[in-house]
Amino acid sequence: MGYDLQMKVWRGDATGGELVDYTVPVEEGEVVLDALHRIQATQSGDLAVRWNCKAGKCGSCSTEINGRPRLACMTRLSTFEEGETVTVTPLRTFPVVRDLVTDVSYNYKVAETVPPFAPEPRPADGQYRMQQVDVERGQEFRKCIECFLCQDVCHVIRDHEENKQSFSGPRFFLRYAELEMHPLDTNDRRELAREQAGIGMCNITKCCTEVCPEGIHITDNAIIPMKERVVDRSFDPVTWLGRKIFRRDQLPEAQVPQGRSE
């Protein structure tokens, strides 16, 4: 039950580009990435698109399809009407490299600033013990495939380039939350979440959760709990008074990896 799909694919680079029309024969059960591959194989061999596993597990083929941030390998053509034109553009939050490929190095730079896991020492028998209920919260966040769609959709950086300096984005709030909830971790990253990661910039409009292909409850289970932890640390009048009166400098601060302060 194949048919001819009308597509508009953005082609170009940092100096400019445009939506180019393609007509692609497609088959039943195919996804947008199949159509892009067919363009590569039969019409434009140099169409640049990033992809790897083609099964929604690696998070490489992030694009915007009809204006919505999505994985091209997990967007089935059956979600569109047969006569509908499918428009594919690169992510619009990151610098474009070529065609559908963007420079996502911002995310890798932010990753370097997250203080790493700092576990308590091993018990005498060498075996850490953790209960399933305690690891489950972190496991949800570790489902993240780093497709960076949440980073792409987040208006804090999508609509304000300058905020990239002071804002880590949903993917890394997930990481902060994971470490803060890790049963063995000994670091306290709450102050860093506020000061360095800029969690206060988030106004919880939940787009990150809406686009997450892994269905992680980014806002409800990671960002808001982190905001509440920051409140515990920085906005709770009782602890604030305590610190003022007893001149007690709270808990030890988290360690940022060495030589990674930029």
Binding site: D13, E27, E28, G29, E30, V31, D34, Q40, A41, T42, S44, G45, D46, L47, A48, R50, W51, N52, C53, K54, A55, G56, K57, C58, G59, S60, M74, R76, V97, R98, D99, V101, V104, Y108, A111, P116, F117, P119, R122, G126, Q127, Y128, R129, M130, Q131, Q132, V135, G138, Q139, R142, K143, C144, I145, E146, L179, H182, P257, Q258, G259, R260
Partner: protein, 595 residues
């Protein structure tokens, strides 16, 4: 020519999957200056596709388990063709490698008393796979990635190595290009670790990603190393068969480990008809016993669905050929009728998601359709088992690109542990060797010029072959003629077809320019794919018996004489040479484990 970008390291790791990252971490810990080069973004390597778990005899679930049992399972699964020393090191060191991951932040599923939980898998006597739901590979790569980032190891992302450089028979570095800009880059390093994964992209139906073009295999061959066991290619019994666009995508063995069974179109659990003599003693012969085994492993034998992968893949192939397949040419994998929806969603979340999203199938309510898919190559660079060094001084290999560890067939779960155990060993030894050597080598302009000319050749040809078409034809040849069941005349045809393709790839032409040009990238990868395909076909033709991941219709029996021989591929000019070499002899104390 213009100056090109140069970097200098003690240890250069090519590939950022599990083995590459683990090697880089180890080399860094040993004091070396380390660089990682990878074709994709960091954290996207094929390791993320590993689902089931990491095999390690930690004895958290079954006290009876220990490294000797794991060693025995591995050797038997590999049809005794494994390098015994690798299998031994692997079984001994895997538990520590898993526990180490926990120290770096991995969150494995737990047993009730808080230890790392372990699950059942094909060919393993006891529940042995440390896992995180069915996304263990993702957990492994993320943990290693975050560790490498925390250590400040330099990573060159989206950078492809096209040539290894040697001087006086020792490694001096590597040459490659940035995918993004198309610019060339040279790395000077006394030790190079190959961790480039496998070769699956040479096949039509595969669970592997585009990266799996056998780069490391081909690079090592060209540098003068030999490849061992290349005739053994693992077809995973359960890949998706429908819709066509996802054909080959993996369906984890955990589905069977957690209670799923295989049925043909008549509803029969056909695996009971395919139990080989070799495994009869430890395999259940009735459905009742097989079902009891999930609860009571001591008094019952394993269900035949959990035989090693080669056995199951051949059985499925035979059922489909006999006309008892499913509508889309596979068989049924049914867990829906055997476990509750809650259990399935909890134990197999990404399988549930994958079928729901890609095939519109709810695996908690209906059976899946599955069939064999090219999954893993047992063969690879022949290395010293303890250090991971190849025949070329300074050239190391770990993970899927290294050969010997898995013999004729790999057990599920042994791949992730292989990455960790041998990733660490090669990383350490590469660092020690670099330190012993003292100064870093230098690459001459002449070498760089030759390598660059070779790389840009496809741009100079107009009106030549389309690389996508050539790749497609190559996949057809390998799939149809050197696939899961092989015969001499088909492989001879394959070799002549491959010779034709070899001629065609000298006439590839690509459009556009060097900046992020997938057509060009494929044109370069094709050389490697072709080289590796030729090794597979030649080795497969040479081995006149059936064993593990190598099944000959014209020689269906396993031959003891062949059980004492390994096949090595070496490059002689432009052609591939095959040599028979005796299998390393196992010491008596280990041999006793098999009596």
């Amino acid at each position: 020519m213009a100056e090109i970008e140069r970097h200098s390291f003690d240890v250069l790791v090519v590939g950022a999957g599990g083995a590459g990252l683990r090697a880089a971490i180890a080399a860094h810990d040993a004091g070396a200056k380390v660089g990682i080069v990878c074709k994709s973004l960091l954290g996207k390597a094929h390791t993320v596709m590993a689902e089931g778990g990491i095999a390690a005899a930690m004895a958290n679930v079954w006290k009876e388990d220990n490294w000797q049992v794991h060693f025995r399972d591995t050797m038997r699964g590999g049809k005794m063709l494994n390098h015994w020393r690798m299998a031994q090191l692997h079984a001994q060191e895997a538990p520590d490698r898993v526990r180490e991951l926990e120290e770096w932040g991995a969150l494995f599923d737990r047993t009730p008393d808080g230890l790392i939980s372990q699950r059942d898998f094909g060919g393993h006597r006891y529940a042995r796979l440390a896992h995180v739901g069915d996304r263990t590979g993702l957990e492994l790569i993320r943990t290693l990635q975050q560790r490498a980032v925390a250590l400040g190891i330099e990573v060159f992302m989206e950078c492809t190595v096209t040539k290894l450089l040697t001087s006086d028979g020792r490694i001096s570095g590597a040459f490659g290009y940035w995918r993004e800009s198309g610019r060339f880059v040279a790395f000077e390093a006394p030790s190079v670790v190959l961790a480039t994964g496998g070769i699956g992209k040479s096949y039509k139906v595969t669970s592997n990603s585009w990266e799996y073009t056998g780069d490391g295999h081909a690079l090592a061959l060209e540098a003068g190393a030999s490849l061992v066991n290349m005739e053994f290619v693992q077809f995973h019994p359960t890949g998706m068969v429908w819709p066509p666009s996802v054909k080959g995508i993996l369906v984890t063995e955990s589905v069977r480990g957690d209670g799923g069974v295989l049925r043909n179109s008549e509803g029969r659990r056909f695996m009971f008809d395919y139990i080989p003599e070799f495994f009869k003693a430890e395999t259940a012969d009735s459905e009742e016993e097989a079902d009891r085994w999930y609860e009571d492993k001591t008094n019952n034998r394993r269900p035949p669905e959990l035989l090693p992968r080669d056995e199951v893949a051949r059985a499925i192939n035979a059922e489909v050929k006999a006309g008892r397949g499913s509508p889309h040419g596979g068989v049924f994998l049914d867990i829906a009728s055997r476990r509750t929806p809650e259990y399935i969603r909890r134990r197999l979340p990404s399988m549930y998601h994958q079928f729901k999203e890609l095939a519109d199938v709810d695996i908690t309510a209906e059976p899946m359709e599955v069939g064999p898919t090219c999954h893993y190559v047992m063969g690879g660079v022949a290395v010293d088992p303890d250090t991971g060094e190849s025949a070329v001084q300074g050239l190391y290999a770990a993970g899927e690109v290294a050969g010997g560890m898995h013999g004729a067939n790999r057990l599920g779960g042994n791949s992730l542990s292989d990455l960790l155990v041998f990733g660490r060993r090669t990383g350490l030894n590469a660092a020690y060797a670099a330190a012993r050597r003292g100064q870093r080598p230098e690459i001459t302009d002449e070498e760089i010029r030759t390598a660059s000319e070779h790389a840009v050749a496809p741009f100079g040809i107009e009106g030549g072959e389309n690389p996508y078409t050539v790749q497609h034809d190559l996949q057809e040849v390998m799939h149809n003629l050197v696939g899961i069941i092989r015969t001499a005349d088909e492989m001879e045809r394959a070799l002549s077809d491959l010779a034709g393709l070899r001629e065609r790839i000298t006439r590839l032409s690509v459009e556009g320019h060097r900046q992020y040009n997938p057509g060009w990238h494929l044109a370069l990868d094709l050389r490697n794919m072709l080289r590796v395909s030729e090794c597979i076909a030649r080795a497969a033709l040479e081995r006149t018996e059936s064993r593990g991941g190598h099944t000959r219709n014209d020689y269906p029996a396993t031959d003891d004489a062949w059980g004492r021989l390994n096949l090595h591929c070496r490059l002689d000019g432009e052609s591939v040479d095959i040599a028979r070499e005796p299998l390393p002899q196992m010491p008596d104390d280990l041999r006793e484990l098999f009596n």
